[in-house]
Symmetry: D2
Subunit: 119 residues, 4 copies
């Protein structure tokens, strides 16, 4: 993989953690917990919206959402770094698996089938 934006972020995170000597707390389990907590903080911004479509979000909500997305992403990059996972290769691997699991002709535009099949 070419040097890309995620590697720049990974290196900044390595430096951030090293400067604070926080690596000792960053077991994979603890990173996965922290990631889940951040995901829930992201969700919190949507929890009382009637439908959650983009037009229900004002600028303040969009900024909060962007920051929480960054928190999730940063923990994901740290976890991938700890476990030596190539995130984008994993994404493509999973998309290929999902394509087999949910054949387009079978599930196309069908909310009922969509919700029955757990992705």
């Amino acid at each position: 993989m070419p040097t890309d934006a995620s590697l720049i972020v990974r290196d900044k995170l390595r430096q951030f953690v090293a400067e604070r000597d926080w690596g000792q707390f960053h077991t994979p389990k603890n990173l996965a917990s922290a990631l889940t907590v951040e995901a829930a903080e992201l969700l919190e911004n949507f929890q009382w919206l009637p439908t959650g479509k983009p037009e229900e979000l004002n600028e303040q909500a969009r900024t909060a959402i962007r920051h929480e997305m960054a928190d999730v992403m940063n923990y994901l990059i740290m976890l991938a770094d700890t476990l030596d996972v190539d995130l984008f290769a994993a994404c493509q691997e999973k998309i290929a698996l999902n394509a087999l699991k949910y054949p387009a002709p079978l599930v196309k535009g069908d909310a009922r089938k969509y919700t029955q099949y757990k992705r």
Copy 2:
């Protein structure tokens, strides 16, 4: 930003969703819910481990973890695409904010301070 690995994944996800006509279900709120569910499925792999250090993970667990990380990442990319967020710029913005919030000399290696400060 240069063409990078995340854009390749974004394009594959756009195609995957279009072929299944699933865009209608992908409000930001629903994507944030799905992302949180996947984060919890990631966490599930660690939930009964004594410490959650890497040496407690066998190959089967590592594969499951890689797949769940990919699920989180894929929803994050779809959410970023829907809300027009530049994920890696957001990551760097948040790291800079956190650097101000947690000055290294103040929080270095101190678990008590570390847990008191909510990141």
Copy 3:
């Protein structure tokens, strides 16, 4: 507090765990992780629904939801047992705190105020 339904459940859970010698895995942290995973599994049943109102739930969904609610409740009871928390006293304590935090005249029926105030 009088003998009530939650104590019957607590005693059944104690027996279930003892028969399997699973208490060794039930640190408060692990129980909190498991509880979060079950909460997300509960949420999964709603994640692609347009609004999530009761009429969008069929019988199959309602059964799955009831079972996931039970999983959350069971972990909550086990965590309360481990930490010696009186759940219902805690509920009333928190309702009283929330009543101070969200005075009815200030927040009544106002979705904007409702979402700004984090509960």
Copy 4:
């Protein structure tokens, strides 16, 4: 079921919600989201602890944990009220199902078996 502590809490919650006219936001989906967010806030108190055993929790942590447990419980009671679920009957139903799924002689004290079987 006899009048018990959970019914007192349910009635207090009904009153709290009615006084604020918040029932309009309390679809089952939104309550399930809010419950998951509170579960994650509970988990947050444990996320950087080495093992998460009770002795790692100071008084401040225990109070925070008790309040988050109450938040989860309160949303669970509101969701049960909305969907007309008898929580404690559901708990007992699920314990009976789990007893069939995880026969004591097969899974006793075995962490490997314990983690393989998803509860």
